[in-house]
């Protein structure tokens, strides 16, 4: 098993409440079990083909609707997944609104999974969700995302890919 939960403590910079470090197998199972999940994929997936591939695979295998933020959409079109472009800051706003019916009109989400974002940006965006919503967030980035509910730690790109593969196995 790959260890992805190291180096979490030193980044406790946002105050009292920090995300729980999570291993890929557990993250995978949690994603599978979510009732109304949303996969939020950022534009950093375009910087690494392996990452892009995994993103698509996760969406497909777990049948996750995808919120394509930034310009990640340009890598996700015509890939046979249910992806829609949305600005991530706006998305987080809507996610805090119980009246929002989601990208597909079927209602608010209960779990979000984030991948492919700038660390600092997704951390900020999630800080809003952490404080003003009850949505569970699972960060499967290669950096520790303190404001997620659960997060991988700080790992190398190579370990990250390995971890995502393990996660996919557990979907």
């Amino acid at each position: 098993m790959v260890d992805v939960i190291k180096n979490t403590q030193i980044h406790c910079t946002y105050g009292c409440k920090s995300s729980k470090a999570v291993q890929p197998d557990v993250a995978g199972k949690m994603i599978s079990k979510a009732k109304r999940p949303l996969f939020i994929v950022g534009s950093q997936i375009l910087k690494d083909e392996e990452l892009l591939k995994r993103s698509i695979e996760i969406a497909k295998k777990a049948d996750l609707p995808v919120a394509a933020t930034g310009h990640s959409m340009s890598g996700l079109v015509d890939q046979g997944i249910n992806a829609k472009y949305i600005n991530v800051h706006a998305l987080a706003t809507y996610l805090c609104d119980p009246n929002w019916t989601g990208l597909d009109g079927s209602g608010q989400y209960d779990t979000i999974v984030v991948l492919g974002h700038f660390k600092y940006y997704i951390d900020q965006v999630l800080s809003g969700l952490k404080s003003f919503s009850k949505i569970k967030s699972i960060a499967i980035e290669r950096e520790y995302i303190q404001n997620a509910t659960m997060s991988f730690g700080n790992i190398t790109p190579a370990v990250h890919i390995e971890a995502l593969d393990e996660l996919i196995d557990n979907l």
């Binding site: 600005n87 800051h89 940006y121 952490k130 404080s131 700080n154």
Partner: protein, 804 residues
């Protein structure tokens, strides 16, 4: 009493016979007089903290404050620290939303204070030199100070007139700071209103600063052919004695330039600047379009790199955006530092009353690492002389700055790839990989990082092996740096009345697709080149692109395929496809100023003390959008927030999320997207654009279609809407690979549709959205949520409606 004006006046004593005068009342009388002179005065002359609250609540109803806390606790008072996570209340009863609104407000007023504090210093200095009666002159305009007039009702004519306006600004800032105190405001919505007030006040402060210096220092005055200046680390001639100035306040530097000119030192000393002082140095005495005396090195992101290069022989700092470690870093390389402003004193001895010879002695011998100097005439002589001397001394001592090629390799080899630098890096840059490549002799990774790196130095503190990572990046990128030689248009100052007269109608009807203002600082998510990409794209599409400050600098660093910078390629005129640099950070006021002037000149609106109406006009009719892509400072937050209150949407780069608060609307809340038609008070549906007043974008690519959409306004005529929609669709396709989901929502009639794609789009409307099309006449029969009615007068304000 007819001669009483707000400016200088002479009293014929006979007129005053038998009059008792109380001094304070004279001032009061003059203010009243000013009111009477103006044809019309709006309802909010010198508004207090709550005067525009109704307007704030009006826009906040649609544009929701969105909080993304930087920290879920509060540590303001000794009850704390209080854990507010999960929006809990702290010991004083404040919750996380309230606290974050307060935190944001504090950032805004910090920025406003920086600008107006700068203005106060400058004004005091200039009044000392030129007198209170020195006339204000900023070029071809009847509205010398649109922001000042809009907010305070004052139309300043002299330097002295700015004084009381600045006192008003200071009073408001103090009132707002008071509200930061524990036990004051309890509702986040009213902290928001206060933040908006602070943002508005900031534009007044900025405007005062810039029109004062334009009027006194022979800056270009609304000049659409201001000269070009050299920019880039590569343009410094390191063989010459080099004097580097850092900061935002040109007051101290003008004497240096004068001295150098007088003594014929222009060719003997390399005078370069970092941050806005650099920009303002290039504006100094270029009102006649002569070439600037100084070179621009770059933004804050170049400060550490410039010092570490060892090139500067002397550094002068004034105020704002100066790295706190300048003295420490410079001292290591035997570069004396002179502080010149009470905002930044570095603990240095005040030498203002000492002889130049004594100071030279102490600094050249290294007895003192620097000096504090408030006497600018003395500074004018001291700095160039010291530079010449230090250049010699530093050469003789063989001061060594960057590592040698060998040392570079050794440094790379030392790296243990623990990733601590990457975790510390604000941009998570792949330093470890670059070290590996460097070890193998490949510099290219670091060359790429050089553009992305803001040289903050956090990596160095994180490195367990004490590798000077910034030096490694800089040394590795010497080739790239030597090629950093660009051009920046010298700041032109305000937009002139003729320009507004010409362009106003196009903006309101949409036939000029919009104004894109690239402003703010250099904390880019992915390097400085992005700015070039944005401007290039939008200029090609005939948007008006306005720049200022850091953005104006970084934009000049890049050349297109034709080898030209955009400044060299596009006219500096306020018209479709024009690229205008207004100037330094405080010149941002001219951008809001231009928008205010559109309402005044094109729409003939009274602007004096009439804030709400003008903001409402802007929000509903002027397709302008601000971009602070590298926003880092509190000033950027403040400028942006001033735009928010005025109804101009602003997009920040992803780092901007760390301001903690955005204003984001929900397009799906359909009842929020209607306004009144001022002709009769009826409600009218409007497009969900702009759908934010302050937000962030993840990447430049994402932002491109956002920009186009953000310029859509209810007042667009069909041609205008068609043009805007075309760009929106094209940019979305180009950068996201898709048609935008909501494009059809902006269609009121078939003539809104891009001509080239009209048929195809009509088909989509029929098929996917169920609209009825008369295919014979290629007309839409039903479907659109909005009517097309160019003579409608959209407004958020019931009071402006005729039948209301």
């Amino acid at each position: 009493m007819s001669e009483l004006t707000t400016g200088k006046f002479s009293m014929a004593i006979s007129d005053l016979e038998n009059v008792q005068i109380t001094i304070n009342n004279i001032v009061g009388a003059i203010e009243k007089e000013a009111d009477e002179i103006d044809v019309e005065m709006g309802p909010t002359v010198k508004p207090g903290v709550s005067s525009l609250r109704d307007w704030d609540h009006n826009i906040l109803e649609r544009y929701n404050p969105v909080y993304t806390p930087m920290c879920d606790q509060c540590c303001y008072c000794t009850f704390g620290p209080c854990d507010l996570s999960g929006n809990k209340e702290g010991a004083c009863g404040i919750d996380l939303a309230g606290h974050n609104a307060r935190e944001f407000m504090l950032r805004v007023i910090t920025g406003a204070a920086a600008h107006s504090g700068h203005g106060r210093h400058l004004l005091h200095h200039l009044i000392g030199l030129y007198g209170k009666d020195h006339p204000l002159d900023v070029g071809a305009t009847n509205i010398i100070a649109p922001n000042v007039q809009l907010v305070t009702g004052v139309s300043p004519k002299t330097l002295g007139d700015l004084d009381s306006v600045l006192s008003y600004v200071e009073e408001q800032i103090t009132q707002l700071l008071a509200a930061v105190h524990v036990g004051q405001e309890g509702a986040s919505i009213d902290f928001e209103s206060k933040a908006l007030h602070g943002g508005m006040i900031d534009h007044v402060g900025m405007e005062i600063s810039d029109i004062a210096q334009i009027s006194c220092l022979d800056f270009p005055k609304s000049d659409d052919e201001a000269p070009l200046a050299d920019i880039g680390m590569g343009c410094l001639d390191a063989s010459k004695p080099t004097l580097i100035v850092i900061g935002h306040n040109v007051a101290a530097v003008t004497d240096i330039i004068d001295y150098m000119e007088e003594k014929g030192l222009n060719d003997k000393i390399e005078l370069g600047g970092l941050c806005c002082t650099a920009l303002d140095m290039t504006r100094y005495k270029t009102g006649d379009r002569t070439l600037p005396r100084a070179k621009v090195v770059g933004t804050l992101a170049k400060e550490l790199k410039t010092i570490r290069s060892g090139i500067p022989d002397v550094i002068i700092v004034d105020e704002q955006c100066i790295r706190a470690d300048v003295l420490k870093e410079a001292s290591k390389l035997m570069i004396p530092v002179i502080t010149t402003n009470d905002k930044v004193m570095y603990g240095l001895k005040d030498r203002s009353n000492d002889s130049i010879e004594d100071i030279l002695e102490d600094l050249t011998t290294g007895k003192e690492k620097g000096a504090l100097m408030f006497d600018y005439v003395k500074l004018g002589e001291l700095a160039p002389r010291l530079t010449m001397m230090m250049s010699e001394i530093r050469k003789q001592k063989g001061i060594k700055a960057l590592p040698t090629d060998e040392e570079l390799k050794e440094l790379a080899d030392k790296c243990v790839h623990c990733l601590k630098c990457e975790v510390a890096c604000p941009n998570s840059l792949p330093i470890s990989e670059a070290m590996t490549a460097l070890s193998e002799g490949d510099l290219s990774n670091f060359e790429v990082l050089h553009d992305q790196c803001i040289a903050c130095g956090r990596c160095e503190f994180a490195c367990p092996k004490d590798i000077d990572i910034v030096n490694v990046i800089e040394k590795s990128s010497q080739r790239v740096i030597s090629e950093e030689v660009g051009k920046v248009r010298v700041g032109r100052g305000p937009i002139s009345d003729p320009e507004i007269r010409e362009e106003g109608v196009n903006l309101v009807l949409g036939t000029t697709p919009g104004i894109v203002a690239l402003v703010g600082c250099s904390n880019y998510p992915d390097g400085t080149r992005d700015l070039f990409t944005i401007a290039d794209e939008m200029l090609r599409r005939s948007y008006i692109v306005v720049v200022s400050g850091c953005s104006a600098m970084d934009l000049g660093m890049y050349k297109g395929e034709d080898g030209m910078t955009l400044y060299e390629k596009y006219p500096a005129r306020f018209k479709s496809g024009g690229l205008l640099n207004t100037g330094s950070c405080v010149s941002n006021a001219h951008i809001t100023g231009a928008v205010i002037k559109v309402a005044s000149i094109f729409a003939q609106k009274n602007i004096s003390g009439n804030y709400e109406e003008i903001a409402d006009y802007t929000l509903n009719r002027v397709g302008a959008v601000g971009v602070a892509w590298g926003a880092y400072s509190q000033k950027a937050a403040s400028i942006g927030t001033g735009c928010s209150r005025l109804g101009i949407p602003v997009i920040l780069g992803p780092h901007g999320s760390k301001y903690r608060r955005a204003l984001i609307a929900k397009p799906y809340e359909e009842d929020k997207w209607s306004v009144y038609d001022a002709r009769n008070g009826s409600k009218m549906q409007i497009p969900a654009a702009p759908d934010y007043l302050l937000t962030t974008a993840e990447t430049v690519e994402e932002m491109m279609p956002m920009l186009a959409k953000s310029c859509i306004r209810p007042s667009d005529n069909n041609m205008g809407r068609m043009i805007k929609l075309t760009h929106y669709i094209e940019l979305s396709q180009k950068y996201l690979g898709i048609m935008p989901e909501d494009w059809y929502k902006f269609v009121r009639t078939e003539t809104d549709l891009p001509l080239a794609k009209r048929e195809k789009l009509l088909k989509i409307l029929e098929k996917e959205h169920g609209w009825e099309i008369d295919w014979k006449r290629k007309k839409i029969l039903s479907g659109p949520a909005m009517k097309s009615d160019v003579s409608a007068q959209p407004t958020n304000l019931k009071r402006l409606c005729k039948e209301a």
